[in-house]
């Protein structure tokens, strides 16, 4: 069963969490990433996610497998939205169930951190002032380093 998936419609967290339930697990940790209304001082109206799906699904499954072996958890999954999202919508969900809370928190944190850094997923922000831009990409041109306020992973 695939442990990493994309979806183009709302993520139903209740069913996803229920699928991780297991009598051997006393702890469940999840992370929900929501669309924020500001970024870098700009007011955000809407987001657009795009992914290189064939590679992202493989790499996403690898990340979940790494978390499971590193933290010794047996049940973990991640779902990421694609397409247009409004402020407040759920963009990414990570869930982990484990015998105890420490490994559940640890694996959950590991998965979301790696997902953000490694998966070929891109985010275009549409701002209230009518502008739009691909996050992390608009100021990477050679010679634009003066305006380059963020770090690359």
């Amino acid at each position: 069963m695939s442990t990493f998936r994309f979806t183009r419609t709302a993520i139903e967290t209740r069913a996803l969490a229920a699928a991780l339930a297991n009598p051997a697990c006393g702890g469940y940790a999840c992370f929900e990433g929501w669309v924020r209304d500001t970024n870098d001082g700009q007011r955000v109206r809407q987001l657009e996610y795009e992914a290189f799906e064939a590679l992202a699904v493989r790499e996403g499954e690898r990340i979940v497998a790494e978390a499971m072996s590193r933290f010794g958890v047996a049940h973990a999954a991640c779902v990421h939205r694609l397409g247009d999202l409004a402020v407040g919508e759920l963009a990414v969900w990570v869930g982990v169930s484990a015998p105890h809370r420490a490994e559940a928190f640890g694996a959950c944190r590991y998965i979301i951190d790696e997902v953000k850094h490694r998966l070929p997923i891109w985010k275009k922000e549409h701002y209230l002032n009518g502008d739009s831009g691909w996050v992390n990409c608009e100021r990477c041109a050679p010679g634009a380093s003066a305006a380059h306020a963020h770090r690359h992973p």
Binding site: F52, K116, P153
Partner: protein
């Protein structure tokens, strides 16, 4: 199953690959999977490399008595569970083993199949339909053995078989199939007889006059907008992704320096210095922003 995430109906199913290698090669008189075209690589291996570059996971479909064949034993296998029903048996076995996946099914006797034709099919895929397939460049009927079958097609396919019908073309023609035109007519010509094999092998062995390769480039996000296309196919003398990006930067107004990009070839991360091969599908990956 209780501990696995439940399938969610609105998700786009992950795409798995199934290479059909269970044929009996009756007309060829020898195993078509072991034939090689223009080199020493058996057709089965060539087709698996091509397929694996476009899917999350790739398997070969074989009859149980073929499982231990040394060539076939090198690859992940799905064994036929129905006998004497042809390619449908392999697809049904795959759908039963992984009902959550969509399947890109390929015949293994398509030596002219290229990355461009596969990439074009994937781009055109409509996960809301039962299947996505090419229209034959010969008779305009669906080409069932280079096609994507969504999870929803499983029940209909089983019913088709239960009603005594074994023809996958008739199945696609009778169901909700998105039919698209081939970008390179002839790429799906299959090879059944020694005469056909001789003609194609001779054509593919002919030396190329220079060191040019057919490369498919797919663009995402800011690069897609700057290139103005999602994908292009080109003949290039570039030896590495680095040389290819430099060549493309002369034709497109790319603003991203190669230092901030990563490279994927055939759906795996690779180095900028990895040698490019004929038929490679290349993606330049802008700085990511998931989560």
């Amino acid at each position: 199953m209780a501990s696995s995430p439940a399938p969610i109906s609105d998700a786009v199913a992950p795409l798995y690959g199934l290479l059909l290698a269970g044929g009996r090669s009756t007309r060829m008189g020898r195993d078509k999977a072991a034939l090689s075209y223009g080199g020493d690589t058996p057709q089965l291996e060539r087709a698996m490399t091509l397929l694996a570059g476009h899917v999350v996971r790739a398997y070969i479909s074989v009859r149980p008595e073929q499982a231990a064949d040394p060539l076939r034993a090198r690859f992940p296998q799905i064994l036929d569970t129905h006998d004497n029903v042809g390619p449908i048996a392999g697809l049904l076995a795959a759908q039963t083993a992984h009902p959550e996946a969509a399947w890109l099914v390929l015949a293994c006797d398509l030596p002219l199949l290229d990355a461009r034709t596969l990439a074009h099919l994937l781009r055109a895929r409509d996960p809301q339909r039962m299947a996505t397939a090419y229209r034959s460049s010969h008779d305009a009927l669906p080409e069932p053995l280079c096609a994507i079958y969504e999870p929803a097609s499983r029940k209909a396919l089983a019913a088709h078989l239960a009603s005594g019908q074994h023809c996958p073309r008739k199945f696609l023609a009778s169901t909700d199939t998105l039919l698209i035109e081939q970008p390179a007519p002839g790429a799906l010509d299959n090879i059944n007889t020694p005469k056909e094999y001789g003609a194609v092998a001779e054509r593919l062995t002919r030396p190329t006059t220079d060191a040019q390769r057919h490369i498919t480039v797919q663009y995402y996000a800011v690069l897609r907008e700057q290139a103005g296309v999602r994908e292009e196919s080109l003949v290039s003398a570039a030896r590495t992704p680095g040389e290819l990006y430099a060549e493309l930067s002369r034709r497109h107004p790319f603003t991203l320096a190669p230092e901030v990009l990563r490279v994927a070839i055939n759906n795996e991360f690779r180095e900028w210095t990895t040698p490019l091969a004929e038929g490679d599908a290349v993606v330049f990956i802008p700085p990511v922003a998931g989560g």
